[in-house]
Amino acid sequence: MTAVLDAPVAAPAPPPAGARTPAERPFWLNPGDILALAFAVFLLVAVFLPQALSPWGPLEASPGNTLLPPSLEHPFGTDYLGRDSYTRVVHGTALTLSTSGIAVVIGLVIGIALGSLAGYLGGWVDALISRVVDVLLAIPGLLLAMVIVVSLGFGALNAAIAVGLSSVAGFTRLVRSEVLTVRELTFVEASAHLGGTRRHTLLRHVLPNSYGSVLALVPLEFGGAILSISALSFLGFGAVPPEPEWGLLVSEGRQYITSSPWLALIPGVVIAGTVLAVARLSTLAQRAREARA
């Protein structure tokens, strides 16, 4: 009997029972995904090389060509000063996306810090943080952001900070619940059993394994932040004219909504498209991760 082993050696995995045959097209050949990807590439170019996408400058006025409807020369039309609306959308991308990014990062960092402390330490720390979060969640986010931006002063950066702070509560609550689940898992206990301190297990095991659903929330929050910052700009709390911020473009276009509806409508569609593309790409990334795992 040759099967009894003298030295312990792992047996090779049994070979697969049969050949694999293709049965379905790849998951990424989805038209919606391709559209989202193309849109994201366009936005990236607009952030780093806006002049490559448009022959005009964002502030270049042309008094003879005011309030033109969309045409081949001016695909999004022109505004009341004759500035090309498409150019302004392209040049506004960097400002809009960076402020939204700042907002999300602020919410994420503070939310993770507070949520993990509340979930991992428990006791009065948890009670205190959770009650504050309850109160913050009771106030509508945009209202909270407005209160904060009024106390900080107007401006694009302050609007971003305000929107970020107003999203802290949501992140905190999510991170806390994730940490509560993960800290009970066997490998966390195993790490402590191997001699790991509480700080070690929290930072090396609990937090990295809590990110999953938090990162799934990020694109949604990113979309929400674009809308909130645009809303603050629209209300006059954020970026100041003549900056081509997207919310501001909608706000300016509102005055001509009856005569030249495209001025407000098209930047609005771009905002909506960006939010949808980000959400779409995040699910795509998630599917790719699962397919690899």
Partner: protein, 549 residues
């Protein structure tokens, strides 16, 4: 260890029986996942005469459950029958859709699933669930159906059936739930019973009563039974015919007694050699001699849990005392709920206790356990589920390095890497396994990695909490080999928690039997197994499948 690819043994080598219950011929089944289809069963053939039991035996991934699902029409949506025919009592069913299957389900084929608790609706009384099954097959009023259901519960050996019928699933034990599922399976008076690992979630004593019940029903109702199991001892004891599957292919088939007596295929030979119940003396020569000082001493250990209702207290451990001698394998056995895992966790410093004294390598443990293990370099616990014990995001290498880093043993990264490579070789893992994630390893490789992680701290005592219960017998045998080799190499002491008495008989020096938190019996393994004193121990030993030999 190359295995000759034997052609599937012919399954039609028996004389024409009075009636054929199941005839499967050249069955190929694939699972479609994403862009790929993977063949999981190929060329499976089977002929089962009415009134007989066939056992389909194989390791995890061998395709035995897929075969059962194909015969009972329960393949998942992505499971495709590529070729082959399945006849159930002369009816060709391989092309059936859900609608065509419906008249067969329950009325011709009864199905007993593996996990009783998740197979019942938690919000419905069990009597109603049995009555539901009755009403699917007979035109009776709800109250008549309920009476029939109570009769069925009597039939499957539930005591106080009228009262139990009003219980919800969570109020019953695993054995009772499995009886209820059998009652549901026979409610439509089927002629064929398909039992997919019906007892693998149950304790040995319960396992025996459930298998007895299936045997009895088979005799009295003239059922044919397809029994899927990974346990050769059960197959030997309970089946007329035996099919051994591996990687979706038949390695051996024939009358059970013949196959057991004269296995032809070398895979089957190895399978029999690895099953602890069928080769109890395999490790007899490697057991430790007597003597040595006690390294773990437990005296009067008591631990109570508050019951969920909040009104009572449950004694998980009640005045438990035991002593583990250096250099031995001390087994702690018991059924689920006996407190064996609680005891292991307390000794490992992972749980609090209420009273008593626990001394590990001369250090007395405080009743409140520390958040960080102060004894990490002297005593380590190996978890039952190695997959859960590793951070899923870390490579095995990183996980193995972690204990060195947090205990400040090897300062330099290079030295740590070298130590990891060395320990991987020690436990028989290839170096490249270190770069994988835990989910990318097989169950046996993961358990080796878990042992490596514990050993890298050079502890003197290992507590092993059912380290092989999730593994196939041949993998289990390799892990046991490894444990013996490591003990000889490093002079380790093992506290081995297990519910598998045949394994314990095979490997342990001493054994402590726990029941409901109390020590029933403790002593040398040969002593306890040959001359058990407590009635409970006798019952446990009698319940070992194949233990009658």
């Amino acid at each position: 260890m190359t295995i000759a690819i034997a052609s599937p043994a012919a399954a039609d080598d028996i004389a024409p029986a009075p009636e054929t219950a199941v005839r499967v011929d050249g069955l190929d089944v694939s699972y479609v996942r994403g862009r790929w289809a993977t063949r999981v069963v190929s060329g499976f053939s089977l002929e089962l005469a009415a009134g007989e039991t066939v056992a389909i035996v194989g390791e995890s991934g061998s395709g035995k459950t897929t075969v059962a699902a194909a015969i009972s029409g329960l393949l998942p949506a992505n499971g495709l029958i590529d070729t082959g025919t399945i006849e159930v009592f002369g009816q060709e069913v391989s092309g059936y859709d859900a609608r065509a299957w419906r008249p067969l389900r329950g009325a011709v084929i009864g199905y007993v699933p593996q996990d009783p608790l998740s197979s019942l609706d938690p919000l419905q009384r069990v009597g109603d669930q049995v009555a539901d099954a009755v009403r699917q097959h007979r035109a009776v009023t709800p109250s008549e159906a309920h009476e029939i259901a109570v009769d069925l519960l009597t039939r499957v050996g539930i005591r106080e059936p009228a009262e139990r019928a009003r219980a919800f699933p969570h109020q019953l034990s695993g054995g009772q739930l499995q009886r209820i599922l059998i009652a549901i399976a026979i409610a439509g008076e089927p002629r064929l019973l398909i039992a997919d690992e019906p007892t693998s979630a149950l304790d040995v004593t319960v396992q025996r009563t459930i298998l007895d019940l299936i045997d009895e029903l088979k005799r009295e109702l003239g059922l044919s039974v397809v029994l899927i199991t990974h346990d050769l001892a059960i197959a030997e004891e309970r089946s007329d015919r035996l099919v051994v599957l591996r990687s979706g292919e038949i390695r051996e088939a024939g009358p059970t007694a013949e196959v057991i007596a004269r296995p032809v295929d070398d895979y089957t030979v190895r399978l029999f050699a690895d099953a602890p119940a069928l080769s109890p003396d395999k490790f007899a020569g490697r057991k430790a001699g007597p003597g040595g000082d006690p390294v773990i001493e437990v005296a009067g250990l008591t631990k109570t849990f508050r019951s969920l209702a909040g009104d009572g207290q449950v004694a998980a451990l009640d005045d438990v005392s035991l002593s583990v001698t250096e250099g031995t394998i001390h087994a702690l056995v018991g059924e689920s709920g006996s407190g064996k895992t609680t005891a292991a966790r307390i000794i490992a410093g992972l749980a609090d206790f209420d009273a008593g004294a626990v001394s590990v390598l001369g250090r007395h443990l405080p009743p409140r356990h520390a958040a960080t293990n102060p004894d990490a370099t002297r005593l380590q616990l190996i978890y039952q589920n190695a997959l859960a014990a590793f951070d899923p995001r870390w490579s095995i290498e990183a996980s193995l390095e972690e204990p060195l880093r947090i205990n400040g043993i090897e300062a330099s990264r290079v030295a740590r890497r070298a130590a990891v490579r060395e320990i991987l070789a020690d436990v028989g893992l290839p170096a490249e396994a270190g770069r994988r994630r835990p989910s990318e390893l097989s169950g046996g490789q993961r358990q080796r990695a878990a042992i490596a992680r514990a050993l890298i701290l050079r502890p003197r005592v290992l507590i092993l909490d059912e380290p092989t219960s999730a593994l196939d017998v041949s993998v289990q045998s390799q892990i046991v080999d490894l444990l013996f080799a490591l003990r000889e190499q490093h002079g380790l002491t093992y506290l081995f928690i297990s519910h598998d008495l045949s394994l314990v008989r095979q490997i342990a020096d001493d054994v402590t039997v726990l029941e409901k938190g109390k020590v029933m019996e403790s002593g040398a393994v040969e002593h306890v197994f040959e001359n058990p004193q407590a009635a409970y121990t006798v019952r446990l030993i009698e319940s070992i499948p194949g233990g009658a030999r």
